[in-house]
């Protein structure tokens, strides 16, 4: 009749020694190595305590229904228009009523605009020719996945040329620029302040330089990267000056501070990584030393061992 293993379990042995014995010190040293060495390795490696991380998120960019345009005409005169009535009232004779068309483009249907198309037509009389312009478009820039961050921002399109223009076309990408890291879960209410006080009757509040300065002093802003603007020349008299821009909102890399949980998780993973080899090393060393009898101690089988079982039952039979 053949036999096979139907069940297997460990047999425990107890090795006993006094607290001041070499065996106890040996055990203490091994325990210190098992725990202390991984901790030391984790502590000296700065990557294990990441203070910053980079997350990727497509921002929610919302048009603020607000633009300001300024055209430079031949002879040094200019035209201006805005969607801000107060600004238009301040412009006086410079005001030229215009038409603006906008469209948010959500390509993948995730309710987050992937691009924004804006078209401006400024009517011109037969004598007016445009040699340059400044076009400001105001947006809300919102991050909401890892942090709630909302700021007002402005996109500036500017061009000047030696020959009169009929159209201007630009295709650009909005890029997020940070001077400081964002805090997770933190709401930045300061940046939410509007860049323009639309109820102001002071023309200095609408000054382009002051708007840009307000943006520049913030810890975060946006930059429109336009690689190939197209300036179409030979305008047709009385035809409007046409500005068209497509602005894309791709996924941005965002510099963020890590959360405490993030740091603990990373350090914990590293500690576990280093703990395993030291634990195995100490386990084998401990087993070798105690089983070889190199240290003086008292061996006692546990109550679950076969020896203790037979010892306990020997008198009953």
């Amino acid at each position: 009749m053949s036999y096979f293993t139907v069940h297997r379990e460990d047999v425990y042995k107890d090795y006993k020694a006094s607290p001041l014995s070499a065996a106890a010190i040996f055990q203490l040293v091994l325990f210190a190595i098992t725990i202390g060495a991984p901790i030391a390795l984790v502590a000296v490696n700065p990557d294990i305590w990441p203070m910053y991380t980079t997350v990727y998120e497509q921002p929610f960019v919302r048009y603020q229904q607000m633009v300001i345009v300024h055209l430079d005409l031949a002879g040094g005169s200019s035209l201006a228009w805005s969607t801000i009535p107060q600004y238009n009232r301040l412009m006086g004779r410079t005001l030229r009523s215009s038409r603006l068309k906008t469209k948010e483009i959500d390509i993948n249907g995730d309710k987050i605009p992937d691009a924004f198309s804006i078209t401006l037509d400024v009517p011109l009389t037969a004598q007016e020719q445009v040699f340059g312009f400044t076009f400001l478009v105001f947006f809300d820039f919102i991050l909401q996945k890892r942090t709630f961050f909302e700021m007002s921002t402005v996109v500036s399109l500017q061009h000047s040329a030696a020959s009169a223009g009929a159209d201007y076309f630009a295709d650009g990408t909005l890029r997020f620029v940070q001077k400081d890291s964002l805090r997770p879960g933190f709401s930045d209410y300061i940046n939410k302040d509007p860049l323009v006080n639309i109820s102001s009757a002071d023309i200095s509040d609408y000054n382009v330089a002051s708007i840009v300065r307000r943006v520049a002093t913030r810890n975060a802003s946006t930059v429109l990267d336009v690689s190939m603007p197209i300036w179409t020349t030979t305008p047709v008299p009385t035809q409007p000056f046409h500005i068209e821009a497509n602005i894309h909102f791709p996924v941005q890399s965002i510099w963020m501070q890590t959360t405490v949980l993030h740091r603990l998780t990373t350090a914990g993973a590293a500690f576990t990584f280093w703990l395993l080899p030291f634990w195995l090393f100490c386990w084998y060393l401990r087993r070798m030393v105690f089983s070889s009898g190199a240290l003086f101690l008292v061996q006692d089988s546990s109550k679950y061992s076969m020896k203790s079982y037979f010892t306990a039952n020997s008198g009953k039979e």
């Binding site: 009523s97 009517p123 009389t125 179409t232 030979t234």
Partner: protein
């Protein structure tokens, strides 16, 4: 292991063996006679130099590889890398070198190679393994192969094909007439028919040549009329471009785009069915007049406007006699074509009529440029009298016009005249344009604009009385002060029934308008925001946009100061009052309900015969 194949040079002094490798870099080696200190045996130590081909020709050796045996024993302790035992030196030098040379091959172990510093990248010392020199004396390595004559186009094409490129020649422009005909025939060879986007073919009356109908268009960098733009079937087109008039005397009589004959002197192919019988452009030249009339439609002049006098002054039948002529006295070109508008009447896939409306004007040489406009529109023959192009079938297409209607008397079930939702156009000075300059609102496209209404402020109290009426007239579509009452739910809503039209809501804060001396007009509504609610309906795979409501939200009343601003009014005492418009589209789509039926539960039982299988 790295192999270097070499070329053996002449023996010198019966002992020195030189050889050279030109395996894309030079490798020169020669033997040097040395003596072992414990035995007077001759030992050949190899000195090798490696350089790339260029520096080798210049006689410059930039890398040196020394057999380690070149180290003297006296240096073995002082020079780094010269740690070699006396015994191994004897063994290495005494026997192995000669033996290996006899086999025309010698290998240097990695540890026996020393390398001095060099920036030449041509030779990479192996990270491990030996470097072996193999004497094969293969002269082909030293010379370029004799090239064969490249005498076939296939051979010339081979390098381009290898890089998946075409040879750098100007590529022929695609889309010849015969290619278009072939493509149309491929759609349905048995019964060819025009499809959306197919070109419209014409046959010129003078030489019967088959052409595609085109009109001038501007290029990318200028507004000048430089490039042709094709008119395609069922594809409305607009083009606006300009001509320079610096050579007006010549251009006036020579520029074909100034002459009406260029736009009328041809017939239009009625149906693509003709291509099943005549399928090359050359075959049309030999067709008889009677046959030609069976498959072509003439261009019919329907309207001619002389913009100089702004009246329909010329009878249509006399239009071809209007030939541009140049007046040197006034530096003006008379009777030049300024605008062309084709209207194609179609029935299914065939064209049943072509109507042409032309605008003439005089070109003044002092203007600098002359602007021309071209337009092509398509009208269905099956819905006579309704020239309103629909905006989708059934749902609105992005960019299409929003259909609105005005019910004059809601109690009567009358037909509703449909129109497009529009804002007033802008005159060149920013004023609210007239009904001819409407700005059509496109579905899904938000808009913000303003225009100015000029108000005479000499008597502010009188101006205030009519101000609100003037502004409301500017806000309405046609300047009448009436706003549309209904909007088409779908893009194919017709004017012949009230089905599919929903009322437009209005929100206006009424306040008593009053005049506050000296110049304030109180409680004036100066703008309107048109908010369109839309939803996607139908299958998720084929959503149709439906308008579910339109709200006219007028701005809150404000005070208007009736005085000229800083810098004065533009025109005397006419104060420009700004009227603001905003159009926005909001999506109210309700997502499909994520509702699933409960999954049926399965009861697992043991087979009934599990305990009694027999």
């Amino acid at each position: 292991m790295q192999f270097l194949y070499g070329w053996e040079l002449d023996d010198i002094d019966g002992c020195t063996v030189g050889w050279r490798s030109l395996d894309h870099y030079a490798f020169n080696c020669f033997t040097e006679r040395r003596y072992s200190s414990n035995s007077n045996r001759k030992c050949n130590a190899f000195h090798c130099s490696i350089s790339d081909g260029i520096n080798s020709r210049a006689g410059f050796t930039s890398r040196k590889y020394h057999h380690k045996d070149a180290c003297n024993y006296a240096d073995s302790s002082s020079k780094p890398g010269c740690k070699i035992s006396r015994a191994s030196f004897s063994a290495d030098c005494g026997a192995e070198l000669h033996n290996d040379l006899a086999h025309r091959e010698i290998c240097f172990s990695e540890g026996l190679l020393l390398q001095n510093s060099s920036i030449l990248p041509s030779f990479r010392r192996p990270s491990s393994g030996d470097v072996c020199l193999i004497y094969d004396n293969n002269p082909q390595r030293l010379f370029y192969q004799e090239p064969a004559a490249v005498d076939s186009t296939a051979q010339y094409d081979a390098p381009w094909k290898a890089r998946n490129l075409k040879s750098p020649i100007f590529q022929s422009s695609p889309g010849s007439l015969d290619e278009d005909i072939t493509r149309i025939l491929q759609h349905s060879p048995s019964s060819p028919a025009f499809k959306v986007g197919d070109p419209i073919f014409t046959i010129r009356n003078t030489d019967r040549s088959l052409r595609k109908l085109q009109f001038p268009s501007s290029g990318s960098f200028s507004t000048r009329c430089v490039a042709p733009e094709a008119i395609n079937f069922l594809t409305p087109a607009d083009s606006l471009c300009s001509h320079a008039v610096d050579r007006l005397a010549t251009d006036c009589v020579e520029n074909p785009f100034f002459q009406i004959n260029s736009f009328i002197n041809f017939d239009v192919i009625r149906s693509a069915a003709v291509f099943s019988a005549i399928n090359t452009s050359a075959d049309f030249a030999s067709i008889t007049d009677s046959a030609l009339r069976t498959f072509t439609v003439p261009v019919h002049l329907t309207g001619i406007l002389d913009t100089a006098r702004n009246v329909y002054a010329v009878r249509a039948e006399n239009a071809p006699t209007l030939i541009p002529s140049f007046s040197a006295a006034t530096n003006t070109c008379l009777n030049a074509v300024k605008g062309v508008a084709y209207t194609f009447v179609y029935d299914g896939s065939s064209i049943t009529a072509v109507n042409l409306s032309v605008v003439f004007a005089s070109i003044r040489g002092s203007n600098g440029s002359f602007e021309q406009s071209f337009q092509a529109s398509f009208v269905s023959a099956t819905i006579p009298g309704d020239e309103l192009v629909r905006s989708g079938n059934p749902g609105y297409l992005d960019g299409s016009a929003v259909l609105v209607a005005t019910v004059l008397d809601p109690t009567v079930n009358q037909s509703m005249p449909a129109d497009y939702l529009a804002l007033p156009g802008l005159s060149p000075d920013g004023g609210c344009g007239n009904a001819d300059q409407l700005e059509r609102i496109s579905f899904g496209e938000n808009m913000q604009m303003s225009c100015t209404v000029l108000v005479d402020v000499r008597d502010p109290s009188m101006a205030c009385l009519t101000l609100q009426t003037q502004l409301m007239a500017a806000m309405s579509i046609n300047g009448s002060g009436n706003f549309p009452t209904n909007v088409g739910v779908y893009g194919n809503s017709t004017r012949f029934s009230a089905d599919g039209w929903i009322p437009i809501l209005r929100q206006i804060t009424t306040a008593d308008m009053s005049f506050v001396p000296p110049n304030i007009c109180r409680n004036i509504v100066t703008g309107v925001s048109i908010e369109v609610a839309s939803s996607k309906v139908g299958f998720l795979s084929n959503p149709q946009a439906k308008i579910t409501g339109v709200l006219y939200r007028f701005t809150d009343p404000v005070d208007v100061v009736l005085e000229c601003p800083f810098g004065g009014c533009k025109t005397g005492t006419l104060l420009p009052v700004e009227v603001q418009f905003a159009v926005s589209f909001n999506d109210f789509t309700k997502s499909a309900v994520d509702l699933r039926s409960l999954q049926p539960s399965t009861s697992r039982f043991l087979p009934t015969d599990f305990f009694s299988p027999y």
